[in-house]
């Protein structure tokens, strides 16, 4: 084990933390042009490092994985850290996002438009149906949640059957324009693959969000612990379905347990950075709005939140759906970086990783989650693995002894996680200053009443 390599690796980890801090700092500047320039510089710095091979292929992979992991963990932190709903389902939504996005681009590059058309159409119609049924149900007070769920489910089945039907009808017309992977048709040349990739990731995330809506609707009425168990079940169901994609599900290209090959590797630093920034900004704005405060109040005290006029069922569902949306984006980014998806990645055991990261970074701290995600990937998959590999062939497995011990120590020393609820720069809520002059009229009124 060379000392030089070790030092460089540590320097990289510190560099990344400095990068995150710098990014959040510059985004927190008051002027819009400062934010934009700062964002571009942050993007440019890493792009330059990647182009000049200072960050090599291995680091590149870690970087994209870390970005995907950050999105998943931010979503989980929204559900668990900010809204207080203990969820183990995040990994399932990650898997759904990854496979859906991969399937869309895979089919597109192989001359099959159905992936994009069916998912696109299905997602949009499903959103309309959910909205429509929601408006319809508002008229009927006190309908049991399971009856409402049944209505949504019927709507969903109809919509997706329709989407598949339309996709199959349109496909013979579109497919020739796409050509095959050897000989590209006019459509495949005309529409850049990047655009399809972008649509695929967004649609896959929206799909994951809609699944989470249907799943969360009945299940979120359970208390927090029971909800956790139910979401664990969800992750297992998703994993089982992924193992059987070519047998019980009609997707032979996903090849079941053998893993899906040939996904175009479209994730580059631009997309990873773009989607990560998107997730960070959306979540930050959400949390600093009234809906975000309502989410915090549900975590703090449900009964009091009810008494404050907050529709907690709706609020929990909102947090769950948005969190799953983020997981779906992360899945799409991951799938197009790695180019190969295996159900083994999406087992429920691996599903504990986001939970550990979120707890490690601090429940209720976005900064902590981002830092912990990057630290986790770069330390555990990067540095530690390389060090241990140089000790012996099987020594890498010691990682799974070392990090639980680290976690144990952290929980003993600092149970609120590394950063607790502390936020940096952009993510920090603006402090509302105490106004200099209290309202004079009212203080008089108080004095008068004291004189009664």
């Amino acid at each position: 084990m060379e000392l030089g390599y070790l030092l460089i690796s540590i320097a990289k980890i510190l560099g990344i933390l400095a990068f995150i801090y710098g990014l959040l700092w510059v985004l927190g500047r008051p002027k819009l042009w400062m934010k934009i320039i700062g964002g571009l510089v942050a993007f440019g710095v890493v792009q330059a490092l990647l182009s000049t091979q200072i960050l090599n292929e291995f680091d590149r992979g870690l970087l994209f994985q870390a970005c995907a992991m950050s999105m998943v963990c931010l979503g989980l932190n929204l559900i668990y850290g900010f809204n207080g709903q203990f969820s183990l389902g995040q990994w399932g939504f990650y898997g759904i996002g990854a496979y859906t996005a991969a399937d869309i681009t895979f089919r597109w590059t192989n001359g099959d438009s159905r992936g994009l058309v069916v998912v696109g159409l299905g997602v949009i119609l499903e959103a309309l149906v959910i909205y429509g049924i929601n408006q319809f149900l508002k008229r009927y007070r006190g309908m049991p949640v399971l009856s409402a769920f049944t209505l949504y489910l019927i709507g969903t089945v109809v919509v997706w059957a329709g989407a598949v039907l339309i996709g199959n009808l349109l496909n013979p017309a579109i497919s020739p324009a796409l050509g095959t992977s050897d000989k590209l048709g006019p459509l495949a040349v005309g529409v850049p693959l990047e655009v399809v990739f972008f649509l695929a990731v967004i649609l896959a995330a929206a799909f994951a969000a809609e699944v989470s809506f249907l799943f969360g609707l009945p299940v979120l009425t359970l208390g927090s612990d029971y909800f956790g168990i139910a979401t664990l079940g969800f992750t297992i169901v998703v994993n089982t379905l992924l193992v059987n994609t070519d047998t019980i599900l009609p997707f032979p290209e996903m090849r079941g347990g053998r893993g899906m090959l040939g996904i175009p590797q479209l994730t580059n630093w631009f997309w990873a950075f773009f989607f990560l920034l998107f997730v960070i900004i959306v979540m930050r704005n959400l949390l600093q709005s009234s809906s975000g405060r309502a989410m915090l109040s549900v975590r703090e005290d449900e009964t009091a939140a009810k008494a404050m006029g907050i529709d907690i069922a709706n609020n929990k569902l909102m947090a769950f759906v948005i969190g799953s949306f983020f997981a779906g984006i992360g899945g799409g980014v991951y799938a197009h970086y790695i180019g190969f998806l295996s159900p083994a990645t999406f087992t429920f055991l691996a599903g504990f990783n986001p939970l550990i990261i979120v707890v490690f970074g601090g429940l209720g701290s976005m900064t902590g989650t981002i830092a912990a995600s990057f630290g986790w990937i770069f330390f555990l998959e990067g540095l530690l693995r390389v060090i241990l590999d140089s000790i012996g062939t099987e020594a890498a497995n010691w990682r799974f002894v070392l990090y639980p011990v680290a976690l144990l120590i952290l929980m003993l020393v600092r149970p609120q996680g590394l950063l607790g609820t502390v936020e940096w720069g952009f993510l920090k809520a603006k402090k509302v200053l105490v106004r200099a002059q209290p309202e004079p009229a009212s203080s008089v009124a108080v004095n008068q009443s004291t004189g009664d």
Partner: protein
């Protein structure tokens, strides 16, 4: 019983034959109550008499087994708690339930959620509407805290405040929901005499300032007798007496409920 009524005023709250069973146990049996607009009514009784259960049914946390609750001429039975709050019934809790890890200002701003005036999407895209409404909402919350002389504590984490201040924040937060009827569940519990005096002043003040009807549960006789105009006494889930503080003090049934049989004669 009742009331110093002016004929034009409808009662703000009418409870008719309200009943709640937990399993076979009747926590509240055929409870009746009428609250006139602007009144300050006390609900007292020994521990376990069912007072908080009545509160929980009025605010929708429990569904009544029978009976009806009519608030401003509309039945609120079967509504979700948040809907009842939005109709105009605010409450505080026996054991203070602040959002303890949030600031005092956020505690009050959360109460404004239903009237924030912008939606989820406005917040996410951070548009002008959001910024304007959010600023307005924050200023409203600050004005509100100033009324309660809490403006200097706005950035304190709620759980770090002393007990009396927490109670004050809780009352402020309940009033931020803009209720017409305020339910106070043992507001003076755990307070020292000085704090109790402040609380009584506060209750008088908010009642006149916010044009409220107040119903309070309290064990501190000093508070109940000092500020309530009407008192209902509950025991074993039933109302055993109603009247003015003076009438209640002399009522043998009440003395019996509190001190046991025979005590009335001894007194």
């Amino acid at each position: 019983m009742t009331v110093n009524t002016s004929e034009t005023n409808q009662p703000i709250l009418q409870i008719k034959a309200l009943t709640k069973y937990f399993g076979g146990l009747a926590a509240v049996k055929t409870f009746d109550m009428t609250l006139e607009r602007g009144g300050l009514t006390g609900l007292i009784g020994p521990n376990g008499a069912g007072k908080t259960t009545v509160f929980n049914m009025i605010t929708g946390l429990y569904t009544p087994s029978g009976g009806d609750i009519v608030f401003q001429n509309e039945s609120v039975v079967g509504l979700e708690p948040f809907e009842i709050t939005r109709q105009g019934i605010g409450r505080t809790f026996q054991n203070i339930r602040l959002f303890s890890n949030l600031t005092v200002l956020d505690n009050v701003r959360i109460a404004y959620h239903a009237h924030a005036g912008y939606g989820l999407l406005d917040g996410i895209i951070y548009n002008r509407k959001f910024q304007a409404k959010e600023k307005e909402l924050t200023e409203r919350a600050q004005d509100f805290l100033a009324i309660f002389k809490l403006e200097n504590l706005q950035n304190e984490i709620a759980k770090n405040l002393p007990y009396g201040q927490q109670r004050r924040v809780e009352i402020a937060r309940a009033l931020a929901c803009d209720p017409r009827l305020l339910l106070l569940d043992e507001p003076a519990a755990g307070m020292n005499p000085h704090e109790i005096q402040e609380l009584m002043d506060l209750i008088h003040f908010i009642r006149s300032r916010f044009d409220l009807t107040i119903l309070l549960i309290e064990h501190q006789m000093r508070v109940v007798m000092g500020i309530c105009e009407k008192i209902s006494v509950m025991d074993f889930g039933e109302v055993i007496a109603r009247g003015t503080p003076k009438e209640i003090q002399d009522n043998p049934k009440v003395i019996e409920a509190y001190l046991g049989k025979g005590a009335a004669n001894a007194a």
